[in-house]
């Protein structure tokens, strides 16, 4: 099987990896870099649990090949914390009790983070639409939407 050498930045760290052509970004993150915060929920681009930022845009990492990421910048849920401190969004999820089983949380956080990057003060409808590709079976979404709203009010942060 053909292997390719790729260079990319993951959570602000430079990585060089040798990957087979068919390896997805999701599997590369989980299996080659042990960044297991990004979850595998369907491997079909339907559940959003594997959402990461690719060059600043939220993508389903199961739908992207690792070789496509040569030269790219990737951010995963692990990249949200800075020097061990949680991001305003993560704090808001905690405060609103917006987490139950926690399996959708990493993807949900990344989608919400991407939203706040492009629209620091979204209204409720905009938040709901931004999260429509992230399935959650536990919470009923209401607290997640509230948490994103809280984070938008509290932080106005950008990275």
């Amino acid at each position: 099987m053909a292997k390719h050498i790729i260079n990319l930045t993951v959570n602000e760290r430079k990585e060089q990896l040798e990957v087979p052509a068919h390896l997805t970004l999701l599997r590369m993150l989980r299996e080659n870099l042990a960044l297991t915060g990004t979850k595998n929920g369907c491997e079909a681009g339907e559940c959003g649990a594997c959402t990461v930022l690719l060059n600043g845009e939220p993508v389903n990492s199961c739908m992207v090949l690792a070789v496509e990421c040569d030269g790219a910048e990737v951010m995963t849920v692990e990249g949200l914390t800075e020097n061990g401190a949680l991001d305003a969004l993560q704090k808001a999820f905690i405060e609103e009790n917006a987490i139950q089983c926690g399996f959708c949380t990493p993807g949900m956080l990344i989608s919400a983070f991407a939203l706040l990057q492009r629209n620091p003060k979204p209204d409720e409808i905009v938040i709901k639409e931004a999260l429509v590709g992230n399935l959650c079976r536990c919470t009923g979404y209401e607290r997640i939407v509230k948490a994103v709203k809280d984070a938008a009010v509290s932080s106005g942060r950008t990275r």
Partner: protein, 780 residues
């Protein structure tokens, strides 16, 4: 149980989840996240393409010869039967397959791709048999038998299979005289409903890793609600000692019942037996998750209800045929639960109920959040609405008049305990302004309101046990051991809260030991049935009281006082008599020196506690009568205001109100989180979800064709109410509520749809298309 004024301050407090920082950071470990290194093998499963067939031969030679393949197993390698209440299933099919997706062989290889390739090289010769896909076809005389050996299977003593038929359990209730009662009824309603199969859809699919050591010890890492039940069932099936299986269960990425009992977890074990010393991992694909594991079985329910001219319900006949699928090892008890709770939360003097668990060649039915109850109440609560209409009494008033109350004798003969269901009804009705008409937002839109009630008992064997351990550490902090599982509901948080509250420690000095590990954690039957806060909570309190007793013995001896005069506040032991005090950290583990260091008092403290209900009785096979059918019932109500677009059939929930009697909310915000999440899951099943089968093959095993609720499908407003009528044997009066919030939702939505558009459909999902067509039909 203590009076509410004497609760420790942590009881009823919204403390933060103990697992939440790990989950928010992405660091929380789920089974698929465990790193096993290069030694790990990957398993894939060859599955039956036939709904019903005899296996004539299996040839695995080509697969075994494929480079990278390390093991291939078939059913003949492991002949034992497995099952929780009825041992009717093989880990891997032998001789016969009974549904599409049933395992027929397993492969372990160095990569998933090679394992997948090897599956194609396994040649299986089948002889197709006539298959049955509907329970009413399966009970017809002459229907092909799906389990001809039903009479030989090992079965729990409260399950009644009928060998020679496709009925694996028949639960009967006979109370009073329904035949005679119809004559006294001023109104009688007879209806039939069909509730289709749905899937649990945890976002984390099933995953299990097994390693079999050369000394025979089996270690299983699994995403599981039931590490102890898995150990027990798998040990019995494989004929190994329980102590030779160790199950390690990390955080569960959603369970809802599908990760209870044993489904796929035995597969990597039996494969691992052929590659000792190497871990073997099996992770289900989303497609496999949809139809090869437990699903919520379909139900055909026929109801007849009658009341007198004043609206007093006099009689009910309830016939349920459950589509149990190809194995009913768990499903037989769902049928039983449907049987003993057959009346819903109503006091009805004359009851006749027959609940049949029926084998079909559909996929296997299993426990799904409040098993049996959503399906049952979908029928009952619509039928009650129609009966109220028929006799001309307001639907809320009708329910208040007939609802079950403490002191009533239930259909099984059990005495009902005090319950707050009336308060639940009043709260949700008021919250949506019941009785007042709201204006639709546009002329072509229709507004309506609906209400539905529920009750549910923990459905389990009569005697499931819980235990807990507490280790007092050197610095006076506590390590709490439990065997109940954190599946998102907050079990670890509530357990820590109960321990801290009961001993007298601040919350931040208690840690829960996780992952649950059957080698080191105390026993717990299963994390199911909304039983953990109540049952495991009682065990935690018993362990906490054991710790207190040991602490007081040490301090009382040192101070020459009576243990009864001592208490613990914020981690400090105090004497109410002498006002002396000593922090736990000053003597935990190392003890207290006697005067002038003339020796020592104390030593390490290890608390233990257990709980098992001892009072549940058997029920008569012919009448369902017995002294106490269940431990208790949690009751509740939901009410909805909906708006329907008559031009498209699209439904929007304007207001949703939900109220449950939880006895005592240990952590009210976690209770509300369950109420909200359950309501949206219920709404999803009401509006969108159905597994579509064609000749036993699921047509929509993906999230595009099987749609679940997303963030844009939320009700505009969700109002939650906690009602607290204490449970006599619950921790601080608590009883469970994890499953209940989705039980009344389908019926509540159906009743609101009827109020808005005067239409009724035979069953969910109430899709826009179905609603639109029903409105068109009704205009004709």
């Amino acid at each position: 149980m203590k009076d509410s004024t004497t609760f420790p301050k942590l009881v009823g407090s919204d403390v933060l989840r103990v697992d939440v920082r790990e989950k928010a950071s992405g660091a929380a470990v789920f089974t698929d996240d465990i790193q096993f290194g290069n030694n790990l093998l990957h398993a894939r499963i060859k599955r039956s393409p036939h709904p019903h067939a005899l296996i004539k031969s299996i040839d695995t030679r080509k697969a075994e010869a494929l480079p990278g393949v390390k093991a291939v197993v078939t059913g003949d390698d492991f002949p034992g039967k497995i099952g929780l209440y009825l041992k009717d299933r093989n880990i891997i099919a032998r001789d016969r397959v009974r549904f599409i997706g049933e395992p027929v062989a397993g492969v372990a290889a160095v990569t998933e791709e090679i394992a997948e390739k090897a599956l194609d090289l396994i040649q299986v010769e089948y002889e197709p048999l006539q298959a049955i896909f509907h329970p009413l076809d399966a009970i017809k005389p002459g229907a092909p038998l799906i389990h001809p050996d039903l009479g030989d299977y090992e079965v729990a003593n409260f399950i009644f299979p009928k060998p020679g038929t496709n009925i694996s359990n028949h639960f009967k209730v006979r109370k009073g005289d329904t035949e005679g009662a119809w004559k006294s009824c001023a109104a009688v309603v007879e209806r039939e409903y069909y509730i289709p199969h749905i899937q649990h859809v945890p976002i984390e699919t099933h995953v299990a890793v097994a390693e079999v050591s050369h000394s025979g010890k089996i270690t299983l890492w699994s995403s599981s609600q039931s590490p102890f039940a898995q150990r027990d069932l798998i040990a019995k099936t494989l004929g190994v000692q329980t102590c030779d299986i160790r199950v390690i269960a990390h955080f569960v990425g959603g369970g809802f019942g599908c990760k209870a009992g044993v489904t796929m977890e035995a597969l990597p074990i039996v494969i691992g037996m052929k590659v000792k010393g190497q871990p073997v991992k099996l992770r289900l694909t989303r497609e496999e998750e949809f139809y090869t594991n437990f699903v919520r079985q379909a139900l055909v329910i026929r109801l007849k209800m009658g009341c007198d001219k004043d609206g007093n319900m006099l009689a009910m006949e309830n016939t349920m045929h459950w589509d149990g699928g190809a194995s009913t090892e768990y499903g037989v008890n769902i049928t039983r639960a449907g049987g003993y709770s057959c009346t819903g939360p109503y006091d009805i003097p004359n009851v006749k109920a027959d609940s049949y668990c029926v084998y079909t060649n559909n996929t296997i039915g299993g426990p799904y959040r409040g098993f049996g109850m959503s399906e049952l109440h979908t029928g009952i609560e619509q039928c009650v609405d129609e009966l109220a209409d028929e006799i001309g009494i307001d639907k809320v008033e009708f329910r208040l008049k007939n609802v079950v109350q403490g002191g009533d004798i239930l259909a099984t003969g059990m005495l009902m305990h005090p319950t707050g269901i009336k308060e639940c009804i009043q709260k949700v009705a008021k919250a949506i302004d019941w009785g007042k008409q709201s204006q639709p937002s546009a002329p072509h839109k229709l507004r309506g309101k609906g209400i539905a009630l529920m009750w549910k008992a923990p459905a389990m064997p009569p005697n499931p046990g819980s235990s807990a351990t507490l280790k007092l550490n050197e610095d006076g902090t506590l390590l709490l051991g439990v065997g109940g599982q954190e599946i998102g509901q907050g079990a670890f948080t509530v357990a820590a809260q109960l321990a801290a509250a009961t001993i007298g420690l601040p919350m931040d000095r208690v840690r829960v030991a996780w992952p649950v590990d059957t080698d080191y954690s105390p026993y717990e039957w299963q994390t199911v049935a909304s039983r953990i806060t109540w049952s495991m909570g009682n065990a935690v309190m018993a362990a906490a009281n054991d710790v207190r007793k040991q602490i007081f013995e040490i301090v009382a001896e040192a101070w020459n006082e009576n243990p009864e005069d001592l208490d613990i506040l914020d981690g400090v032991v105090i004497s109410k008599r002498t006002e002396k005090e000593i922090p736990l950290k000053d003597f935990a583990v190392y003890g207290i020196p006697k005067e002038n260091y003339d020796g020592w008092i104390g030593g390490p403290i290890y608390g233990r506690g257990k709980f098992m209900p001892t009072y549940v009785t058997g029920l008569d096979k012919e009448t369902g009568q017995g002294k106490r059918a269940v431990v208790h019932y949690t009751t509740g109500a939901q009410a909805f205001e909906v708006e329907i677009d008559s031009q498209t059939g699209k439904l929007e929930v304007i207001r949703a109100a939900t109220a449950f009697d939880v006895g005592k909310a240990i952590n009210p915000d976690l209770v509300k989180a369950q109420m909200e999440g359950g309501l949206v899951q219920g709404l999803s099943s009401a509006l969108f979800e159905q597994m579509i089968f064609k000749d036993g093959e699921m047509q929509n095993p993906n999230f595009v064709d099987y749609r679940i609720a997303t963030s844009v499908d939320l009700p505009k407003e969700i109002l939650t109410f906690i009602v607290e009528v204490p449970q006599d044997d619950g921790p601080y009066g608590a009883r469970g509520v994890g499953e209940h919030p989705m039980v009344p939702t389908i019926a509540g939505i159906a009743n609101a749809i009827h109020d808005a558009a005067s239409i009724r459909m035979q069953g969910p999902p109430f899709t826009a298309e179905k609603i639109y067509l029903a409105i068109q039909d009704q205009k004709k």
